[in-house]
Each structure stands twice: as structure tokens, then as C-alpha cells.
């Protein structure tokens, strides 16, 4: 496999590794992924980097049974839209639970996983996924 996307993965370390987004100091709006310009305030906006708590709830989800190339071994797996505590929604894989265990409003938290590997010779892309919270597991 060719080593495409090495620079683009590297450019997204902050958001992929640390779930870092943007807050506009002018209007207070919070964005993920990070934005260079606040779409609300335009040139009056003052976007600054912001790390999220990593906690959220499942807003909605879908079970992938016919996976894309490179994800065959993971199927069936869950792709969810997570509503973060701070507001923004994040598309991500939900791991450490079976598809049957996922439900809307399920409390989840961020974890660090392999996103994909660029073949045996290429780089390993790491980043965030979400899993059931520690509290949810303790209550189970």
C-alpha cells in the first residue's frame, strides 16, 4: 500500500490524539473538528484551541456489517455520533462493547486506539475512539 496521507494524518494529531477542538472567544461557540475561522463571527471571531473532557453520550449510531476496505476484520462494528459534554458532535467508532450493548444516550468516554494501518510497511494511524464509561461498567 502506498503511504498516502502521512502528512494529513500528522496535521490532525491534535484532534485525533487529544480530542482538541476550537472555542471562539467572541461568541463562545465550540467546534470540533478545529476551525481556523468562527463561522458565526467571521473576521470578529477569536478562535482558540480547546481540549474536551472526553466524556459524552451516544447521540445516534449504526452497526457496520459490510465494512470498507481495511476494516474487514472489525465487522460487525459500531459507528456512533457522540454528543460531547461541551456540545459538539463527533463521529467515531464505539469499542469495548458489542453492537447489542449500544443504546442512544449511553454514557461514553474517549480512548486511544489504532484507527488504521497503512499496510505492513506504512505508518500506523492512532487516534480517538469511544467506549462505555468506567462508571457505566461499574454499575453493570
Amino acid at each position: 500500500m502506498t503511504m498516502y496521507g502521512v502528512p494529513s494524518h500528522w496535521r490532525r494529531y491534535k484532534e485525533r490524539y487529544r480530542l482538541s477542538g476550537t472555542r471562539c472567544e467572541t461568541c463562545g461557540n465550540i467546534y470540533f473538528p478545529p476551525r481556523k475561522v468562527c463561522p458565526h463571527c467571521r473576521r470578529e471571531g477569536k478562535p482558540v484551541s480547546m481540549n474536551f473532557s472526553g466524556k459524552g453520550k451516544v447521540y445516534t449510531f449504526s452497526v457496520i456489517r459490510v465494512p470498507s476496505e481495511g476494516f474487514e476484520a472489525y465487522a460487525p462494528y459500531v459507528i456512533g455520533l457522540i454528543q460531547l459534554e461541551e456540545g459538539p458532535k463527533v463521529t467515531t467508532q464505539i469499542v469495548d462493547c458489542s453492537p447489542e450493548e449500544v443504546y442512544i444516550d449511553m454514557p461514553v468516554e474517549v480512548c486511544f486506539r489504532k484507527l488504521r494501518e497503512q499496510g505492513k510497511e506504512g505508518i500506523i494511524c492512532y487516534g480517538f475512539k469511544f467506549k462505555p464509561t468506567t462508571d457505566a461498567i461499574l454499575k453493570k
Binding site: 487529544r18 481540549n51 474487514e72 472489525y74 469499542v95 486511544f112 489504532k114 500506523i124 492512532y126
Partner: protein, 349 residues
């Protein structure tokens, strides 16, 4: 005094039982359970490796010490024998993920199962010399074993991270001592998928010689005796070796059991002695004295004498305990184990 500011652990969710492995190879499960004292072992998910385990443990260590700003970590070492890249340090990815970059030194350590404690000693030196405010040492492994080899019953996955510093320590490290000799008990050549071992040779001339001599060496230097310690943690490739080492050295079994977690999760290699120590810190009280001796094939040992401070109570519950991760488990069969370990021929990703 230099000490442990914080610690954090991580163990993957999946487990395979000794019976399940024995069934595939038509071996006597009871014989292995009695011989190794290992009931089941942890297995990493397809999307987990030494990097992801190390990051999770490091984040738990940071959560347990809110006073530590990750940018103040001046040294980060990851000890493992399963670094995902042959060339590209695991420590760089961990440092980036916990936002400790760019002002720090970082490197990967290798010394079979004792690379994590080697990192701990390097951090102690840098902190004591006041080159860095905090150092982070991580022991993490997703251990490999040839299918049907005896190692397959124990080779497991787990990680433990320790923040070393001078202030707000939960435990003082009052001394450390090491032994090293050239012993060919366990090895893996470059490019080979699985390690080789010297069978029975791994016991007396390797593990026991290093662990016993190193522990005695530390106690001689500190003027301590086994009765001075409330807990003892020895590297745990299986359940029998650390109990036998304790017996030779004169430590009561009761002092070893709180840190003996190999029976439930298997041998986590570079994580093993550090996870055992974490399990003890999860329950120790102020003033308790802990002896830790790691072992790395090749071969060598690092011993530490540790005294718990009053801050342990404040910080302990700020991150999940070792017991939480031990109990958070889901069993898989050998077919899924083979898939998770990428042992299937023609496996594409």
C-alpha cells in the same frame, strides 16, 4: 527524596481461559493450571497495541495527579519488547498523545520483561539530578507466543505508568539496586515473529539467580530484612516463580499475594512487576514498606524499596484501580483469539 508522584494502569478487556488454549492442542489444562498457576490471560483487541496500552496507562497516571501538568514531564521512557515499530519510538507517540511535547527527552527501553523498571531508574536519576521536574516510566507489552508453545498460556497484554518526582509523592523510593549478567534464557532474533526460550533453563540460572541476588543486594545496602516489608512484588512470568522466590528470600506468602495478579491476567512482560506494584499501591496504607524486584530475560533484575506516604489516600481513587481492569473482562474462544492476535493466514488488516 525521589518518589512516585502517581501511577496508572491499563489491561485490555478480553480474556482467554487456560482450558480454551489446552483444548485446541489436546493438552491437559489442569496440568498447566497447576504448573503455572494461571487461570486466564488478557488479550488485546485488534485495534490495541503497546502504544495504545501505554497511552491509556499514562492518562490514568495523569488523572491520578491533578497537580502535574503534562508539559512538566521532562523525560518519558516506554519499556517493552513489543514496540509496534522497529524504527519509530513508541515514546514519541505517547508523549504527543498526553500533550507532553515538545520540551522533553523520550526513548524506548528494551530489556525483555524489565524494560519498564529500567525506565523507572532512568527517571529517578534525572529527577534526583534536577534535570527534570517529573519523569514518566511506562512498562507495556502485547506479548507474542508461538501457537502451541507453553508460553501461549501466559503471554498477555497490559501496561503500567509511573510519574517520578520530588513533590507530592504517594511513595518515597528509598533505594534501588540492579544485577545484570549474560544469560541466554529467552530471546527473539530480528525479524522473527515469536521468541525462543531455554525451557527449564529459564528457572534456576536465570530468574531465581537474578531475582534473589538483586533483592538480597538491595536489602544489604539498605540494612533491611524481609520482616521490614509489608508487601513484596516479584516479576511474575507465572504464579509459581514469584512464590518460590519469596520462599527462598524469606518473605511470607501473605506479603506476595496482594501483588500477584498473573493468575488472573497472565504475564504482561514489561508491565508485570509494575502492575503488581500498582495492585499493592491500590490497597497500601501510609508507612507501608514495599519491595519490588523485576526480572528481564537476558538477564537482569531491578529492585526497589518503597515507603508509602499519607498522600496515597488523596490520589488513589482519582483513576481506575488495577482490580477494576482485572474484573472488566469478556471471554473469547481460541478462534477469536487467533483473529485478535492476527495468527490467521491471509489476514488482510
Amino acid at each position: 527524596m525521589v518518589g512516585i508522584v502517581s501511577y496508572g494502569v491499563y489491561i485490555p478487556r478480553w480474556r482467554i481461559k487456560t482450558e480454551e488454549i489446552a483444548k485446541v492442542w489436546d493438552q491437559d489444562a489442569d496440568r498447566f493450571k497447576e504448573g503455572l498457576l494461571v487461570e486466564e490471560k488478557s488479550v488485546p483487541s485488534l485495534d490495541e497495541d503497546t502504544v495504545t496500552l501505554a497511552v491509556e496507562a499514562a492518562r490514568n497516571a495523569l488523572n491520578r495527579s491533578p497537580e502535574v501538568n503534562a508539559k512538566e514531564i521532562g523525560a518519558l521512557y516506554v519499556g517493552s519488547e513489543s514496540h509496534p515499530y522497529a524504527v519509530k519510538p513508541t515514546a514519541t507517540i505517547v508523549a504527543e498523545a498526553i500533550d507532553a511535547t515538545p520540551s522533553l527527552t523520550a526513548a524506548d527501553m528494551e530489556f525483555a520483561c524489565k524494560a519498564g523498571t529500567a525506565g523507572l531508574q532512568a527517571c529517578m536519576g534525572l529527577v534526583k539530578a534536577e534535570y527534570v521536574k517529573y519523569g514518566m516510566a511506562i512498562g507495556a507489552d502485547t506479548a507474542q507466543a508461538q501457537p502451541s508453545d507453553a508460553l501461549e498460556y501466559t503471554a498477555a497484554a497490559g501496561a503500567a505508568a509511573y510519574i517520578i518526582g520530588r513533590d507530592s509523592v504517594i511513595a518515597d523510593i528509598e533505594g534501588t539496586y540492579s544485577t545484570t549478567q549474560d544469560v541466554p534464557d529467552f530471546w527473539r532474533r530480528e525479524g522473527e515473529g515469536y521468541p525462543q526460550h531455554g525451557g527449564r533453563f529459564t528457572g534456576e540460572p536465570a530468574y531465581f539467580t537474578q531475582v534473589v541476588n538483586c533483592t538480597r543486594g538491595l536489602m544489604e545496602r539498605l540494612g533491611t530484612k524481609p520482616k521490614d516489608y509489608d508487601y513484596a512484588v516479584f516479576h511474575q512470568p507465572n504464579g509459581k516463580f514469584p512464590l518460590r522466590a519469596a520462599q527462598i528470600l524469606g518473605f511470607d506468602k501473605e506479603k506476595v499475594m496482594p501483588g500477584l495478579i498473573v493468575t488472573k491476567i497472565g504475564n504482561t512482560y514489561s508491565g508485570a512487576s509494575l502492575l503488581g506494584l500498582a495492585s499493592v499501591l491500590d490497597q497500601a496504607k501510609q508507612g507501608d514498606r514495599i519491595l519490588v524486584t523485576s526480572y528481564g530475560s537476558g538477564a537482569g533484575s531491578d529492585s526497589f524499596s518503597i515507603v508509602v506516604t499519607n498522600l496515597i489516600e488523596e490520589k488513589r481513587d482519582l483513576a481506575p484501580s488495577t482490580e477494576f481492569y482485572i474484573n472488566r473482562k469478556e471471554y473469547i474462544d481460541y478462534a477469536h483469539y487467533s483473529k485478535f492476535k492476527r495468527q490467521l493466514r491471509g489476514f488482510v488488516n
